[in-house]
Symmetry: D3
Subunit: 304 residues, 6 copies
């Protein structure tokens, strides 16, 4: 008989060790129930997109969300990779108001990095974990239309239209769309978009319930010079007030958060992407990490 036996000791050990696992799976259940069929837009960027272990844990998280019935959508940036590619190509970046100036040469590099390097790499990782992921840019299916944001910035666009028919169709097929923030201008040119803003625009137009920003900070601080003032939860009005004191990369995130919440999104999360599985834990466990901005009528998931 080629089949195995289990000794009594082995059996007892095995049973004992599995009890803890069951508790944790059970803990996830109310969240799975609550978020079944819900669309969640995740702005993916920072360390989580650069560090191989974090890349892997992110791809695993998104795959699990998709498998248990959520509808995740990824919008990614590519800042560090673009800077590196520009250095390699000896193109000197120019900045105005914290926004990269994008001349034709730069746009070529941006597009190659976003659509040709970052996007396929994310898709490959997701496909590797078993997700049905599809990479695309905002040009595909007419998803994003743009106009120049500021003449001084060149091919930097502001979103003027969002057509989610294609993305909605993909989500209905169980696909995870991975979107590079590039749009077709009404003038036929290509425009580079701020990924934070693009993610918020897509979330609003898809009727997403959650918008998640993966960042390299622990969250939003009431006083950003005092690490004891990390905010765990605030309502949209409070975020609006905080805006005045915020600048740098966090500003477009908070501005977009406010717009997303005004436009029907129910919760925005600013998460520390340097923590493994931060997306999974945010969604499936009661503790929560980072800062959550909510509409006034928000109520927590009932865990019972």
């Amino acid at each position: 008989m080629t089949t195995g036996h289990t000794s009594p000791t082995e059996h007892r050990t095995r049973v004992a060790s599995t009890m803890g696992k069951a508790r944790i799976l059970m803990e996830a259940m109310p969240y799975i129930r609550r978020f079944a069929g819900v669309t969640i837009v995740i702005k993916y960027g920072g360390s989580a997109m650069v560090d191989p272990e974090l890349q892997d844990s992110f791809a695993a998280d998104v795959t699990l969300l998709s498998l248990v019935g959520l509808r995740p959508v990824i919008v990614h940036g590519g800042g560090p990779q673009i800077s590196k590619a520009m250095a390699r190509a000896n193109v000197e970046p120019k900045w105005v108001d914290g926004l990269r100036v994008t001349d034709a040469e730069t746009l070529g590099v941006v597009q190659e990095v976003l659509a040709g390097q970052v996007n396929p790499s994310i898709v490959r990782n997701l496909v590797g974990h078993g997700a049905k992921a599809v990479g695309m840019t905002g040009i595909d299916g007419g998803l994003l239309t743009a106009e120049p944001r500021d003449e001084r910035l060149g091919f930097v666009g502001r979103v003027t239209g969002v057509d989610t028919e294609l993305v909605g169709g993909l989500l209905d097929q169980g696909v995870v769309p991975v979107i590079a923030p590039i749009a077709r201008g009404e003038d036929g040119s290509i425009y580079n978009l701020n990924a934070d803003t693009a993610a918020a625009a897509i979330a609003r137009n898809l009727g997403a319930q959650k918008l998640i920003y993966l960042t390299d900070v622990e969250g939003l601080y009431e006083d950003h010079d005092d690490e004891t003032t990390l905010l765990s939860r605030l309502v949209v009005e409070e975020a609006r007030e905080l805006l005045e004191g915020i600048d740098g990369g966090m500003r477009p995130k908070v501005e977009s958060s406010v717009e997303a919440l005004d436009g029907g999104v129910r919760q925005v999360h600013i998460l520390d992407g340097r923590i493994q599985h931060s997306v999974l834990l945010e969604i499936f466990t009661p503790e929560g990490i980072g800062t959550m901005i909510v509409t006034p009528d928000w109520t927590p998931v009932h865990v019972g």
Copy 2:
């Protein structure tokens, strides 16, 4: 500002404590992927159906399976409850060949207990955890048709026909069917069925991949007098050989297992229902509990 803050210490603790959880959720992922859309028939009985804590853990397990995309079907027995009800009603049970003789009076009690007591109680627990459960008997929608098994046994039936159209329709709607083992005879009478056999017949006709027997033993023993011979896995041919040495309540289980595997079911599990969450752990963790009987072409889930 009414919103909360998180102190640095609190933040670190929270992060640390969640890492373990992520690992366990990740561990479940290959199984969720593997079993998405798969029908699993569970014969529910024994202590798991009597002890309130086990009832609750079972209902939670089945609800979670349903939420993450499996299609569980419950077939339950009711032996202990029937015995108790018969004692209360001063009806003396008669047995032939380990099968209860079922005269008209007994049938009344059996039906009341199965359909009127046990079945609604299981449904209530499942609904309480958030599953879309529906109780039914084998009469409903013409699911099970029967003929007398043996004239001496009275209204004890042998399954002669299975029509899974209704159950399939319920599964397509995300419903968890909970089935009492009662059938309509071709003669219009009602028949009491052996739940183990009924579960196997339903599993075969539904094209289920797994059939799980919840029992009050640790599994199947190669030598049932020697607890060191607990079998963890065997193929159907080996089970067929073992059959000669098995009697009592385990015999119909093993016989039905062999029939189910011959009829297209890919794995049968004999699980210890006295362990909390045994169903969940069997399906979602690599360790496995109890005894698994498989077809010769079976291969384990690839975890990676």
Copy 3:
């Protein structure tokens, strides 16, 4: 040649005898056309549920309705059977305000009788006539949620929520749902409901056009001491006025009728269930039987 011949006489007789049949089938046609796809809730109770011939004629009626395209839903009571079972079990029933007090012991009996005895018996009769019937309680699929009606009455519930998703799905599959008036409380307990009230609540929430009460009287009397005052038709306002003079078992029927008509049901019928095929005749023939309560805008089926 093994095939039969028909003599001229035989032929003429056969033709003559069938003419009358055609007239009657034709008479049913406008009603079939009128009620195609229409949901009809039938409160089943009284003699019609106890007498074997009436049971059979009722099951035949409902099967025919289902076959020709109506969507019948059965809600049943079980008063006499419950009383008998309680007597057998030596449980003394208690009554408050015409409503049975339901302690835990009584609830056990009620549930066993309704779900374990009456419900499967109705389903079996329907299946026997060819209907795709499915038995269920108000617990199944979260159909009915309840709260205690009156602390003095114990586990007697008042309906607080109706979720018809499951029942609607069954009707779409051509299934006849047979519902026992038991609900899950928001506190997790089980509650016994008044079947008249439950039927009205289900009718309202399903958007039923007709609600039929099968009773053991000829209908509603304007003066219930004067059998010459049997009402054939009245509008809802008149029923509301009559309510003051009605008590006993008829009161919840008339109260529920008024609520159902206020909630969108178009006709309520109080039929004499002691007459064979009363349901069929009510729906498919112009004569009508018993009392019909209608909304003010009601018009008769155009027969032409």
Copy 4:
């Protein structure tokens, strides 16, 4: 109070009179169950198409069949009306082998009568009874393609192709197709078809279970000179043998019947269309009228 009363006498009379009706509706039930969703092709012709009362009873029958879930298809001829129109237009009909010779002038008259007179009149009667009827010729949607049957006969066609996609789509929408036996030739000309043959070809290609010929005789006789030899039932082989002795208008009916049965149709009926409601009675009552030709494996509807 504007509402009506029913006196006790009136009530009793009403109840008594309805009992017989119930019996007849019940008698129809097994046939309704048996033929639900079944396609039935009816060749409509002879007196039933000329006499106003018979026209009305036919339209009522077909409407009822459609309402209770069968899928009737009408194929009509127009012999008498064509002869009358040709007389009116002073066109002398020519016949070869019992088939009308159809020159261009005759074809014009034939087409006008079939598509312009007979077909709309049938549709109007059906619509008047509440059926969703649609008139069409074999040209519509490419239903029938033809080639010349015999050069001597002119525009008389033989069916060479049947495309039932359109008719199937109409049946799926609950429509009753009414078809004039005219086809488009592969050469682009229009051809007149024998309606008996066209009906059989359509029945075969639609997968119809029944094909009914409405005629002006009582049925098929074993010896057509002896009215005591009216055949009530025969199998296809017997019909094939009878063919040799049959000529006149009955010959194409029996030939087509044999072809239809060979091609998958399960029963062919030759009914006396001079009897009111003969179609209804044939389908919904056990007696049967006229002659039925069946495949060898045919079994009667189980009535019970």
Copy 5:
């Protein structure tokens, strides 16, 4: 080697000759894009329906529209053919207010010509070009209901109801409906309708975007005595003003056009049906032919 060669000269000639074709196909593209899925009702009449070459070019046009994704609906008249048939039958036509008086005899001729001659001929031509065409009258599927227009006119009807369920279903299947302007009266009689009016009523109820009248004039003239005043485009208010000066056959066209535009149709075209392919060119080329009447908010197709 049986395969062919192309000489260099041949190759160059072939390439050159195809360039012009490509330009024209490209020119049609914006119109195909613009009208994809759009319903277009075409009143077909006059020379286009009598001249064989024009019949062929019309059938080709409609087939192409259907193939590239538009949803054309044909409503035809039959004036000249009816007159000819009445002459042949020695029936003297009577006219009141430019409308044919229709007694029972005339109605017979009208119906035979429209449904029996004109309609099948149009369908045959369409089927010959590859369209899935279906002929029908306004009686079919209860499409048009009518009442007498004027007692003096006999069976001349005014549309009182339009039920487009059937036509919509046919369009969804890719079918081209060809409709003869005959309706069933509420009194069960048949009525002859003005085809211009019927086309407008159908266009309005189908939600058509375009209604096209094929006529035997070049279009609408501002001053109908001055051929230099041919109007290429006007808005509905201007058409309303023009109405006073218009009589003859053009009057019902303009009246119906105004009603159609008031009822949601966006453009009405009065086209010269004597020009081959006038329908195709109207829809697929920028030039336009004849007169277009539009709602005030109309804008031309963007070609670019």
Copy 6:
């Protein structure tokens, strides 16, 4: 009156000029009918992908195909752009057997150019003409799986698996998929594929009827040194024989053509992409351009 007039001269000119257009649209009709719903895979490369006018005419062609109901799929290469990018980046290309050796550095450039430069540019042009285009690589949705082709070539892959579920779903939504020839290896690495081979593999697995290679030559020559031997049509067996004498870039095209035809594709075309609208003309006009390789049972489109 703000509306325009048309002078008689203008009218006549307009009419005359449109006649030619109609003829050409009509000429396209049999091809539109023939190819409705048919999947066509186009390998896009060479001058057609570099020259702006040809880019535009190609995008217009594909958009028109999509609009009139075909299902085009684009697979593109990127040879010239890759060479340019590698020169810019000072990476020296290495070749083995006419295939580029792809080390990790080269792969980075290849991927950036294909997915980040060429693919979005094609999508933008298609979206600009009104097509619903979506860019993707063979990694997306697990479309293409690969293994190393030859150890000496590095990350050059051979297709080992094709999963067209995603592409099929996109085509069903009317989307034009634009595919870069990059695959995920079973080892998790990314592989660069030969676009000709990838196009053939996708065509075979999608059940495409046509596979078109856009090249920079006029077609296939029987003797490639003699320009008078340009082949217009040959069968697959003849292509197989020719293979021996072919090398350079044409060899993988002809090899892949043979494999595609063996795998169910019905026609392969080798077209001169330097001619504007060559795709459109190939599909919609009778002349044909370049070389067509067919299966032995191929027959030309019937134009009638």
